[in-house]
Symmetry: C2
Subunit: 325 residues, 2 copies
Amino acid sequence: VKRAPAYPRVGVAIGDPAGIGPEIVLKAAASQRVTRAARLVIIGDARWLERQAKRLKLRWPLQRRTVELVDLANVEPHCVAGSVSAGAGRAAVETIERATELALSGGVDAIATAPIHKEAIAAAGYVDAGHTEMLQRLTGAKQVGMLFWSKSFSVGLLTRHLALREALRAVRANRIVQAVRLFDAGWRQLLGKTPRIAVAGLNPHASEGGRFGHEEQREIAPAIERLQQLGLSVSGPYPPDSIFNRAQAGEFDLVLALYHDQGTIPIKLVCGYDAVNITVGLPFVRTSPDHGTAMEIAGKGIASGRGMEQAILAAARFARRQRSS
Amino acid sequence: VKRAPAYPRVGVAIGDPAGIGPEIVLKAAASQRVTRAARLVIIGDARWLERQAKRLKLRWPLQRRTVELVDLANVEPHCVAGSVSAGAGRAAVETIERATELALSGGVDAIATAPIHKEAIAAAGYVDAGHTEMLQRLTGAKQVGMLFWSKSFSVGLLTRHLALREALRAVRANRIVQAVRLFDAGWRQLLGKTPRIAVAGLNPHASEGGRFGHEEQREIAPAIERLQQLGLSVSGPYPPDSIFNRAQAGEFDLVLALYHDQGTIPIKLVCGYDAVNITVGLPFVRTSPDHGTAMEIAGKGIASGRGMEQAILAAARFARRQRSS
């Protein structure tokens, strides 16, 4: 079999076995676009995957030439698709732990992870708020950031799952400088180019020079100035309700959003399932689809594999670039 | 000339003469789609309009059969396109005052207003934050609301130009009840139908049952319950970063956004210039395009008349409905 020299191995964690993870991973593994771009190393329970595949009439066995399976044999016999449980939560975390080990040891070049369920992992006794925090803990990374990447535009978040009231308190010059440096470095590593970064304002119309709020003048503008002195391609603060249109038109590569919904509202509206969630700051490439476990449709065969496919393709693309550089 | 019985008269205020208002009003007045839908009553300075028309090679004189002109003769001789001034601010406010008088006296059936410039009206000594507040003052309306209407979906704002920090303090059950009732009544008046209203949450994922913030449980959910008891078609609070996708897919007519950018980011991204800004709570229909004076391109002939056209067409449509009801 002839392969491009930089044909990457992508570890694919199936996430919560009771969610749509197994289904969308199987669908992605059957996609030619995916298997032409990467060799998949699927991490999950083989018997459970086989059961799902047969039930949903998806390809089984997997094609050995392009798909490998790391069988954790960790799904409890009484696990039910669509049902949140501690057992499924534990099994989900184990897929991420193994994926991380493989990525750190060089067994895979990048990882793409299917969704986990927050209540399930909490019931299993894990304290992590989500994937991002768990990966930070497992790798000991100092600082991690959530980046939504799409062909239209990309968004980095200053804060993630915080009450808006608390997110406002995090709008500080130091944190903005840190976050932009992190996304800038992550982008250059992933794409080999310097991103043109726009920083959104916090207040309506970016406060119109202080008329509605002072964060733009006191925190955001000083942070941008410092970043420019460091040589980064950064500007702003821009009125939040037009900066995403400008990014979409191609003026910027990445918008720093100052709170969760400021970034996730536009990315979901423009990109739907096509945005890929990337964790920057880790010692390896990690992607995931921009949706959850969708318990209400798990096991029904109607979940779209598109988001997972995009996540794997992005992981393969970034891993190829890192290998060749 | 034969006309439909409900051929409405729409008062069109040119707004700040130094902005793009005169240009976009002249462009809209030359549009057959517009002149087939309404008789326009343009309110502004005739000499200034003529000068702009000749300079930009737009139709002049206006077609008398479909366009009437109320000449305020109020633009100072030294007024310059693109330049913010107290004189232009005063002239702009006078166009709105006259449009309001005409609407209140029945001289026109609805009004559509071109943009004004906040610094210019402040320099002219007016205290109003914008059009909406000015119209509230001129009509003595108790409560007014800002609604962005489009064919895709519509958004009502709980608060307008407030620092985000202060907007958070306004997320109170009573205010939400008031606002939803106002938008519901306004919608029924404009469109003759009961709107299906979705209330957005405030925090990421609508707080996931209180994990990130408490406003959903303490303020928003109780407000929705009260509104449902009043018989309104209202539900929520929904995760802010997927409710606009659902509205776009047709599940809801109107989303109540709890702060300015929560509503304006999605509407501008999806609708561009096609969203029409409507003031609800006034004794007459008032619309405007969803953009500003664009001083940097004023007088250059490159402004798009599309937003103004949409605003006039919407005003005509709503006025026709009110006449026929």
